[in-house]
Subunit: 858 residues, 2 copies
């Protein structure tokens, strides 16, 4: 499912070039006014002079040029970006609003069914339970059939995509449809699921599709890959922004969740789109007569003049720390459930066969427990997420009725009051039940997020603490005469921000709650609690999204933790792989074959020669495989056989071999197989097999097959011709002394997959994401990764110049000066680095060509 | 004043190494428990095994190890970063609070003096005017004497420093003292100046000094350069955060203002420190009985249930656009004043002599105009900035008294009411006068920012629009029965955010106003106005900080504008300088001398040889200069003379030459001068002079001086010995096809100063910040920058592989295979790239060594 092809920023140079060339070619082929304009737009900076010349020569070109100029002007002035962002914002606001409408309708329908059947409790139960089970099953089935990529939150995948990794099928129209419909059904079921994670994905899908659409219409800029990445990051902001009507929080949340490095110039693309989207989203509500004007989604009415007492701050801090532990526990629980299901073979097998059973069972369990006349009465089961949140953010105190009822609006807090049971018990039960329910529900294979459920649990927990505080200090803590009672709703706001911050490892949940509630008076408690919760949660567990990334085995780079000062002292030379796979300019096809069989990296280094090891570039494995298959291609074999036939004088000794249709002898059969096979790796294998096979059956088929084998050997001994091979001429290079910290920064900045370690142009090692990950996660001693020798730190002391570098340079100099450096004896450290050069003597004997390379000077 | 030394991230590798080695050496020298622990802390990851071995061998090491472990545990658990950030936050909060206290005291003193003299208007005027003139003059003089670097805002400099440029003296204790005291006096004078820009600088100073202090105490991590940069960016956030008690807005504002790329992992370092700082800052106010509890600085009391009508949005949008134009005008005016003063030679000369006169004159003018009984009565002259803001954010309507006076607090709005003059006239006068006053005042050579004055003007402008709206629609616009009068205070908030956003090109001013006013109800109007203001201002002018950066000629990289799609089509090959200065492994000292005399870049490329042009690394100019001076050093000259004396048999022919103290002959005098001079560049010159001099005075001093000249020539013809030279072994490389967009990204990501352009390891060009700047600013045709040939885009069409690369590779291959590629005729494109190689034939004749390099293989 997760066929990921990692093509880092640097690796894309050559690929992009190819695309560019193809575009240009396509445009040239098409001709016409539009394409002519497009072409000229491309060359506009450079070919002003050429334009003018053309103008002089050809009066017909005049109008065409004018048209192109106008179009250029229009597009560059009004700005494609602006139009794009406005369209994106509009689209997403509509999607969000329609979806909310549909969800509300679904929930109303359930309530109506449930309410209409209040005569018979069994019927009521069946109605209460069947409805969500059907919706969730439909959602799971629909997603499974149409696009399995739409399952889950989408934020982990977007983080991976924005890192530069190409995930297939993640940004297609099918996925869009599956995600939107699946999400609507899943949320309509009333299960503890959220919409913000999926909305990030939906917005990105929107942006990708819109980009494609615009590219088809206007071409040019919309095809640029970098630009599309920028638009994707803006889209993530729009997703969160229009989900909560929280433009600022949306932008910040999406940055924190999806990026490691953020370009400030993209920053306000996000702000613009998210604000526009949030505006339209709320305006739709006003136009639909739901609201009088644009206000917050969960408006609170806390008092402004004395929002909280300074002496309440310890309580807020404790709330924050508790939320930190809670958040870590949630992430752990979520991962435990997934891993448990995977490990249990029997469960796993069963679930794979009956894919819809798991979500249906989970839904059945959850909805049974929340059945209002049943256990649901102790945990406000009949309230939807929205209603629960409104009740929890209420500015009145529950445990002591009648305080500060200045405002009059519909409240759902009566649902929390059970005639027999204390409100504290109800809250505690609600928290505990919702906690595991949310953790389980988010593992269902439907499009769903975990933010909103966690937010709700946090709000309930905050409310609990607030109510306890209110019960402890009924007249407030303030000492100076005036009575300022404690506002438990404020605690609910703080708790919601802290728990959701802890689970997602973000600080911007603070901003989201301000925008959601429309009040910023509790800014300091919220900030303190969120930061403390983050500190605790980050020390214990990865964020929920990173956890999912690890579970799904997507490529990732862990963050450098705070306070790990060792990271500043590990260097690249301690973690790099020294046994680099490389090919030289003198490599034969046989070397290539061996290299392809033994290595596993996606790219191979190209060095000048084995002696100098000067890095010239890197070549993708696929390119090399195609080179190899070209060398031993069917065409060439046939040519050779023809030639053979002509040489021996026989008129076509093996007609079956030369005819395209029916291979008759096993010898040719193998060869034809090998050459027509698309996967070159298989070819390599089959070549090996074929050789063994030849000796085995040579009795039957000699001498022609033997001749073919000989020819093959000959061909393999030829030098590789790199002419038709795409080479990345400047792969990213690091130095041995680069610190781990800097390496991490560069890798995450540039979205690298691997980097070569060079010293004076000479290739000495390679560091890939894997090594870096191992080093950061502390397991530097894992196999394949060389550990820095103990006492290594002594090595650099004493002299300010690096010894090995000097030695290396010395060697180069000596080679150039004909080994006659005046009055300078070889320093004793030369031997130190000779170990690298010595391995060339221990090679297999097939390299007759290498020794001949030395006289050909450079 | 602005002696800037640009050392980009990449250029620092070697430097860092040296520092690292020196640290290690120093630690080894010191010994003792603390240093032992420090050392072990450094090697802790790698040398667990070694530790254990040591444990076995030496029981004495046990306790030492335990101590080090404990320390390590303590430090890594509690986290140096946390301690550091808490200290920084605490310190800055105290500084901010004390400074506010002092400023309030100054202003009170002025009011008291002014109030006490109300019997005599002349005396009153003298008191009103003298007080600020004295304070500003003191501030200017004090800053000038102690640390001229403390002048101005500090944000432009911090932006430059965070880009990786080292500005001397910007982060010293002297500057700290000058900035804090100068700023207090400047703000105490009541001039329209702000404190947030300087506070960013003060916080950075605090962080830098604290880092030094901690490094002296604990060593280790505090010496790391990357970490210090991270701390600086957190410090910027703290600066804004504790200035406005706005942690979130502070972090965002500092990011927008100082960074182009931001690491999300630093993000919440900033949040933590800024929150802590804001918290302490406000708690101090509570403890000082100024406030009852922690609330916003400029608390507003707008109604929550219906903050604004949807139909008011066009007014908000117009306000935003007008603020955009206003912001651009402010930046333009500010720059115009500075440039005007610079250009006018007479003014300039006069000002340079009497440095204190300019600020004194400006202060005199401004305070005369604001004199309350004079013109000041028409523009609320007696109010301080704080009082004016509180009045402008008032939720009551001024033009129609008596609406919504639910809250009762001290208001200064009576100052705006003139008995004869309309409130609109007062507001308009206030805006116009404050506008030019602020623009002029911020050019004074005192520590001052422009944010707060601009914020105030914006608030006044917003208020004006609001009052006009309130006058036009006295009963509000809403149609559905209920009357919701317009809130002009809301317009003031929107205007303040929009104008300050336009001047600074930031969106986060929106968040700052929410935190300043403690209300978020106007989020949508604020966001819309800020975004529109930004769009307008960014299209017209650079931000105020970028404008100052350009005025001060600090190194910078302009942002890529939006909608400039041409940027995606320009490539590095279009802008790179092809005539790269380089040295080869075979260069003689004479080549080096020539290269140093002709070039101007700070680093020179080192290539393998002129034929292969393979890039090996880069060397700093300083390094080469020291190499050259070493080769012709005094020591060597003396040795040579000794040798000469021994050869000729004479016993010491020139005793004066060998004696250190008194050089007697002009010949030696010059030489001694040359060799003892620290600047190698001068030496190069003096070498030239000396040679001419020799021929001139050879009559007197021959034959010895002639022999010395000959010896010198001989020495210059020797090959350069790079053994003692620090070489950056992996300078940053780009490919010719890299787009301008990507190049810009990489340059700003990595803080590069220049990058080499290579093709298959071969050096083909260099791109520096200058070329990039020119290309972005549109003047691609400036001299020294080669423009891409017209019709260049056709070049890549047709074939997906790049032709020139293949040719290049082909050549390399041919060289290696001894010019005998089997059955492959030379492709016709070879000639195309020969132009590059052909220039080697047109060289000066000094290179006899190059031709000999070819047989020595690689």
């Amino acid at each position: 499912m997760m066929a990921s092809q990692c093509s880092a920023m640097y690796g894309r140079y050559t690929q992009e070039l190819g695309v560019y060339a193809k575009e240009e070619a396509a445009r040239l082929r098409d001709g016409g006014l539009r394409d002519g304009a497009g072409l000229r737009r491309n060359t506009s900076v450079r070919s002003r002079a050429a334009d003018l010349l053309e103008y002089e020569k050809d009066p017909c070109a005049k109008c065409q040029m004018c048209a192109s100029r106008c179009q250029k002007f229009l597009i560059s002035r009004v700005g494609e970006d602006w139009i794009f962002l406005i369209l994106l914002g509009l689209l997403m606001a509509l999607v969000s609003w329609v979806m909310d409408y549909a969800i509300a309708f679904c929930q109303e329908a359930q309530k109506w069914m449930y309410g209409g059947l209040d005569s018979n409790m069994l019927l009521q139960y069946i109605a209460w339970v069947t409805y969500p089970v059907v919706l969730i099953s439909f959602s799971a089935g629909f997603t499974q059939i149409l696009a399995p990529q739409a399952v889950g939150s989408g934020i982990p995948e977007m983080k991976t995509i924005l890192r530069g990794v190409v995930l297939k099928e993640y940004l297609t129209f099918k996925t869009f449809v599956a995600k939107v419909i699946g999400l609507t059904c899943a949320l309509g079921s009333g299960m503890p699921l959220g919409k913000e994670g999926p909305f990030v994905h939906v917005a990105s899908l929107c942006a990708a599709l819109l980009s494609k659409f615009m590219a088809a219409l206007f071409g040019g800029i919309y095809m640029n890959e970098l630009r599309n990445t920028e638009m994707l990051s803006a889209a993530c902001a729009v997703g969160v922004g229009c989900c909560f009507a929280a433009p600022i929080g949306g932008v910040l949340f999406s940055i924190e969740v999806t990026s490691t490095f953020f370009a400030v110039r993209n920053y306000w693309r996000g702000f613009f789109a998210a604000t526009f989207s949030a505006f339209i989203f709320r305006v739709l509500a006003v136009w639909n007569q739901e609201e009088e004007t644009i206000t917050a989604l969960f408006k609170t009415r806390f008092r402004l003049d004395f929002p909280f007492d300074l002496q309440e701050l310890p309580a807020f801090a404790i709330l924050g720390i508790a939320c930190g532990f809670g958040g870590a526990l949630f992430v752990y629980l979520n991962r435990l459930i997934v891993e448990c299901m995977r490990k249990q073979k029997t469960i796993n097998k069963f679930l794979l066969r009956k894919r819809l059973l798991y979500p249906a069972l989970v839904t059945l369990l959850v909805s049974t427990l929340t059945f209002p006349p049943g256990f649901g009465q102790f945990m406000a089961g009949q309230l939807t997420q929205h209603e629960s949140l409104v009740a929890l953010f209420d500015n009145r105190t529950w445990c002591r009725q009648g305080v500060a009822e200045e405002f009059d609006y519909i409240s759902h807090h009566h649902a929390w009051k059970h005639p027999q049971v204390n409100v504290f018990i109800t809250l505690i039960l609600f928290i505990i039940m919702k906690f595991w329910m949310s953790a389980v529900a988010t593992t269902m294979p439907v499009p769903c997020g975990a933010f909103m459920p966690v937010f709700l649990i946090g709000a309930a927990f905050g409310r609990l603490v607030g109510e306890i505080m209110a019960a402890m200090f009924p007249d407030g803590i303030h000492v100076d005469g005036s009575v300022y009672p404690i506002v438990p709703g404020g605690y609910a706001v703080v708790g919601a921000a802290a728990l959701s911050g802890a689970v997602t490892h973000t600080v911007s949940t603070a901003v989201i709650v301000f925008e959601l509630t429309g009040q910023i008076s509790h800014i300091l408690p919220v900030m303190i609690a969120v930061i403390l919760a983050n500190a605790v949660a980050q020390a214990l567990q990865p964020s929920l999204y990173d956890s999912i990334i690890r579970i799904k085995k997507l490529p990732y780079l862990p963050e450098l933790g705070m306070g790990h000062h060792e990271k500043y002292n590990i260097r690249v030379e301690d973690i790099m792989v020294r046994d680099v796979r490389y090919i030289t300019l003198n490599s034969s096809y046989r070397d290539l074959q061996e290299m392809l069989l033994t290595g596993h990296l996606k790219t191979l280094a190209l060095v000048e020669c084995r002696d100098s090891m000067i890095l010239l570039g890197s070549i993708e494995r696929l390119q090399l495989q195609s080179l190899l298959s070209l060398q031993l291609s069917r065409q060439r074999r046939l040519e050779y056989l023809h030639q053979l036939a002509q040489e021996t004088g026989t008129h076509d000794p093996l007609p079956s071999l030369t005819s395209d249709s029916s291979p008759s002898s096993p010898c040719t059969h193998i060869h034809l197989n090998a050459s027509t096979n698309t996967s070159a790796r298989q070819e390599v294998h089959s070549n090996h097999i074929s050789k063994a096979f030849f000796f085995h059956i040579s009795n039957f088929l000699s001498p022609i097959c033997l001749q073919v084998a000989e020819w093959e050997d000959q061909k393999l001994d030829e030098l590789v011709d790199f002419k038709n091979c795409k080479i990345d001429p400047a792969p990213f290079q690091l130095v041995e002394q680069t610190s781990l910290h800097k390496t991490h920064t560069i890798f995450s900045l540039l979205g690298l997959d691997h980097a070569y370690v060079t010293s004076m142009g000479r290739l000495v090692g390679v560091v890939s994401l894997k090594e870096l990950r191992k080093a950061i996660e502390g397991s530097v001693t894992v196999t394949g990764v060389k550990v820095r020798p103990p006492l290594a730190s002594f090595r650099d002391s004493g002299n300010s110049t690096n010894v090995s570098e000097v030695t290396e340079l010395h060697k180069l100099c000596m080679r150039h000066k004909g080994l006659s450096l005046p009055r300078e004896p070889n320093p004793p450290d030369v031997e130190k680095n000779c170990e690298f050069f010595s391995f060339q003597n221990g090679q297999r004997g097939t390299r007759s060509l290498i020794t001949t390379c030395e006289p050909s000077g450079c």
